[in-house]
């Protein structure tokens, strides 16, 4: 067991993967000598050499497309997009090929590769470095979409994603990269992809979130208990595809009230899907409308104002109290 940040934990998972399977490799911009702009690939070039940890030219479509070619011949590339905002340069490769290859070839060519990308605001980064658009990939059948929220689950989920036979979009909440440390076991561990965690049991209201928004959500739960005698259950989805409909509904059936929290814009965002799955399965258990505490339907503001625009514990508390007092 060692205390580590999410950056270190991700690095650990990558190192384990490279050590265990010679077919894994890392490709991306500045992942080698520079060790990634966030240092997630620290020491990996040194340990595994330039054939396994490969700097690419500045070309995101190439990163995805080359990785597909590599995967078709047995490699397991782990791609890094420097920021999710630049991943859209590779969007067509993801939509038209990565997500489809297994089905169109009826399994002859799977594409078991992972695309890691830092997403979200909160670190005062310049324009185009702070948005949350994970919902794009939730609407794209054929992919899995994993989003950790802390060092330990980041390591376990990245490992699971690398081992997974399907393509996985791995969204890393960069606001959590160095924000806090957790104990991470020495032994490799995995978490099942698509299984949510009830990270706090409660009976009055269900708070559902993932990724960077987990922290304000958990803070809100504490505050609700301490200041408002509201006992919140908190669910960490740990990703969006597959979405753990069962855990969500079991909780909402118990509490009858729900708030969904994320940074992504509201319209057609992940919260809408959570709500739809609750309505489909547990409508008659609902005691109050479900609230969305999300990014507004706005272009992500430059960083001077970003704190206003991100979900925070006050916003979650207010929504939860409205739900409870409905």
């Amino acid at each position: 067991m060692a205390q580590m940040t999410m950056v270190k934990a991700l690095n650990l998972a990558l190192r384990e993967a490279l050590a265990e399977d010679k077919k894994t490799m890392i490709i991306g911009e500045d992942v080698g000598q520079d060790e990634g702009v966030f240092r997630v690939t620290e020491d990996l070039l040194k340990e595994f050499g330039p054939d396994r940890v490969v700097d690419t030219p500045v070309a995101e479509s190439a990163i995805v497309g080359l990785a597909l070619g590599l995967a078709f011949n047995g490699f397991r590339p782990i791609c890094e997009m420097q920021f999710s905002g630049f991943g859209y340069c590779g969007f067509a490769q993801i939509e038209n090929h990565l997500s489809r290859y297994r089905n169109r070839t009826r399994g002859r060519y799977a594409a078991p590769l992972v695309i890691r990308m830092p997403y979200g605001g909160g670190i005062r980064a310049i324009e185009h470095h702070s948005e949350s658009r994970e919902a794009f990939f939730a609407q794209m059948p054929g992919l899995k979409l994993v989003i950790p929220s802390g060092p330990r689950n980041a390591r376990a989920l990245l490992r699971a994603s690398i081992l997974d036979p399907d393509p996985v979009m791995f969204y890393e909440p960069k606001a959590c990269y160095r924000a806090f440390r957790e104990e991470v076991p020495d032994e490799p561990e995995t978490l099942p992809i698509g299984k949510a965690q009830v990270v706090r049991a409660g009976s009055d209201v269900t708070l559902i979130s993932y990724g960077a928004s987990m922290r304000p959500t958990l803070e809100a739960a504490e505050e609700l208990e301490e200041e408002h005698r509201v006992d919140a259950e908190v669910i960490d989805l740990l990703g969006l595809v597959p979405m753990d409909t069962e855990t969500i509904n079991a909780s909402v059936r118990k509490t009858g009230r729900c708030v969904v929290v994320h940074e992504a814009p509201r319209t057609c965002g992940p919260a809408a899907e959570v709500i739809a799955r609750i309505v489909e399965n547990s409508l008659m258990y609902l005691e109050a409308p479900i609230h969305r505490v999300t990014g507004y339907d706005l272009v992500m503001p430059f960083f001077a104002m970003e704190k206003y625009y991100l979900p925070n514990s006050q916003k979650v508390v207010a929504a939860a109290r409205e739900a409870v007092n409905f």
């Binding site: 190439a62 080359l66 990785a67 070619g69 490699f75 169109r104 036979p165 489909e280 399965n281």
Partner: protein
């Protein structure tokens, strides 16, 4: 830039350049081009009869596709766009699969297990990156295998072509890229596709060789590809081959070329038909006479007829997408499959219970 050509329109070979190819192989090459041509003709008819969907023939381009296919080995990777019928048949694709692809069945993209090819690719130029990635994988594996990828003249305008060529140059991968410059991208003429005098010279931007080849001359295509393959196997990196050819037919059956090009232009290219030229060459070399050719025509006709039959007998598994979109069906897909099968039953189809895929939780209404 000079254009590599070996056969003249009369089928005379430039002896200095003529490759040594066994008679049997030359005959097989002719058969390959003929098969592709007759296949196209049949497909155009099937389309008119509503028996397949939209079809994109490659009439006139058989040499540009087949020459490269001939010049590589079975373990090399072959990455087609959508006008490589001749090459695909040579590689061992069953005709019936190609028919199935154009009939809207994924079975036509299910590459046979023993073939190192990718399936037909529709989003133009996107496949260039896959070919580059495959070439890279060959290098990383320490083998001397190469990858060969195809695209059209129009596709060279796409960003993916650029990114693929640039990365191939940087990693010095064993990649041969063949541009089938058939002078048109649907209605857009080559001259308006790019201002560069040749497409081959685009290689200069990537630090490797580009060569322009008479794409209607199968010997020239073979020689150019062989040189490139040899260089690639020896670690010399990528080559760009511009095959100058012409699309004699429609872009696809949904297209009407009269809207954008003159009959005169098409007529000008007809004498350069790769089949005619190669046929004359073989005749002159006494490798294939009219009788031999007649026998080949019969063989090919039978093969096509059998393939059409096989394809038309194919029964798709209606629920297959549920089983192949991901490696295992997650709960929400299981629930959707159940919903789907319920729908099929409601319209009178017989769906065995075990095909329902019911899971623990139904994502849809009221099952919880």
């Amino acid at each position: 830039m000079e254009t590599l050509a070996i056969l003249d329109p009369e089928g005379n070979a430039d002896e200095a350049l003529e490759p040594k190819i066994e008679a049997a192989d030359l005959r097989r090459l002719f058969r390959g081009m003929l098969a592709s041509r007759r296949f196209d003709e049949r497909m155009l008819k099937l389309q008119r009869q509503g028996r397949i969907g939209t079809y994109g023939p490659s009439v006139g381009q058989e040499a540009a596709s087949l020459g490269p296919a001939f010049a590589i080995g079975p373990k090399d990777w072959f990455v087609p766009a959508f006008r490589e019928t001749a090459g695909m048949l040579w590689r061992g694709w069953p005709m019936s699969k190609i028919i199935l692809w154009w009939s809207g069945n994924e079975e036509g993209a299910k590459v046979p297990d023993d073939i190192n090819d990718l399936p037909i690719c529709v989003p133009v130029a996107s496949q260039c990156l896959h070919a580059a990635g495959l070439a890279w994988s060959c290098k990383l594996n320490g083998t001397d295998h190469v990858a060969i990828g195809f695209l059209g003249d129009g596709a060279t305008s796409e960003g993916d072509f650029h990114e693929a060529m640039n990365c191939a140059g940087v990693y010095q991968v064993p990649l041969i890229t063949v541009i089938q410059n058939n002078q048109w991208a649907i209605s857009h003429p080559r001259a308006r596709q790019t201002a560069s005098a040749t497409l081959a010279q685009k290689a200069a931007a990537y630090g490797f060789d580009g060569i322009q080849v008479d794409g209607n001359d199968i010997l020239a295509m073979i020689v150019a590809t062989r040189d490139a393959v040899k260089k690639a196997r020896a670690g010399g990196g990528p080559t760009l081959i511009e095959a100058v050819t012409y699309r004699l037919g429609v872009h696809t059956t949904a297209d009407d070329p009269k809207k954008y090009r003159t009959d005169e232009e098409v007529e000008l290219w007809k004498p350069k038909d790769p089949l005619i030229r190669f046929g004359r060459y073989l005749k002159r070399k006494k490798i294939l006479d009219d009788k031999g050719r007649g026998l080949l025509e019969e063989e090919v006709a039978k093969e096509i007829a059998a393939a059409v039959e096989t394809a038309e007998a194919y029964e798709p598994d209606v629920s297959a997408p549920f089983h192949h979109t991901l490696s295992e069906m997650p709960d929400h897909l299981r629930a959707q499959l159940a919903e789907f099968q319920a729908y099929r039953r409601s319209i009178g189809e017989a769906v065995p219970e075990e095909e329902d895929g019911r899971g623990r939780l139904q994502g849809n209404v009221g099952v919880f």
